[in-house]
Symmetry: C2
Subunit: 145 residues, 2 copies
DNA sequence: AGTAAATCGGATCTATTAATCCGATTTAAT
DNA sequence: ATTAAATCGGATTAATAGATCCGATTTACT
């Protein structure tokens, strides 16, 4: 249920790229790493993953960089970025670490936890890039510190 | 929001110890590790932590082992075991990894996530050992597999 | 064509978590 | 007293996640 550091950086990077894609064409790795306060080389690795998964697109050479399509900004859900980086591990993860925890063979907190997990998943499935960058653009939320 | 492996093992061990404390006096490390399907040496380390924190008590020598008081079984909350092993890190942890994420300076998903976090915390604060071992004793839930 | 600015991609290093090892200590039973 | 069964505690090892390095590739600009 906790995201990996790679995924945290990946989401923040995606948001910054989306924001810049609306304003100017693209964002460079250097700018991205700076604006999300993440190590440049590590960010590069994560962005490569997102490019391969089709979440963002990249252009090499001078004036190159990363961008996100208008369609993606409007339609892409938070859960899709998470899946692209961390996979779907956390969806079936039992709080107490049981391999087969389910309705049939539940752990002692399965029932209490399932509602929370459902709400969390629902939130990730409905939150779009667009939703997230609105609060950024309005200066309400931020991506570093 | 995800527990460490040590904490997962620690909670499962606590539940087994509580269960055995009601039936027979104590449980040995060997039995505990077997019943919760966790490595013995690692479990030993975790139990030592729980003893030092006063969550469980131990007796050395033959016929020794670990036990939990009736009072603890009735009153101890899930969150207290988590704090004893993982600390309170996850309470103030931002989903996107921001160091200072708060109402004043929120990340782009702070508002959506805060409700989920609140519910989760509330659950951990009200769930007692007693609550958890009832479902175990009734054969509804389990501690391994 | 040449150069410099960018991403790409594989290998490597580092830090943290997970797990093990083993000798020291305690104590019940013979 | 001796032995054996248990926990204790410090040191070490293994596995994974986090991060870096550096040469290869692409491409805009002169």
């Amino acid at each position: 249920m906790t995201l990996s550091k790679a995924c945290e950086h990946g989401i923040r990077a995606s948001l910054y790229i989306a924001q810049q894609s609306v304003l100017i064409e693209r964002a460079s790795l250097k700018d991205i790493a700076l604006e999300i306060d993440a190590p440049e080389a590590f960010t590069a690795k994560i962005l490569q993953q997102l490019v391969r998964q089709g979440i963002i697109s990249s252009i090499q050479g001078p004036k190159g960089g990363f961008s996100m399509s208008k369609k993606a900004i409007k339609e892409l859900k938070l859960i899709q970025i998470i899946h692209a980086i961390d996979g779907d591990t956390f969806e079936n993860k039992c709080v107490l670490g049981l391999k087969l925890c389910s309705e049939i063979s539940p752990c002692p907190v399965h029932d209490q936890f399932k509602h929370i997990k459902k709400d969390y998943l629902k939130m990730l499935q409905k939150t779009t890039i667009h939703t997230m960058i609105s609060s950024l653009n309005e200066g309400i939320s931020c991506l570093k510190l």
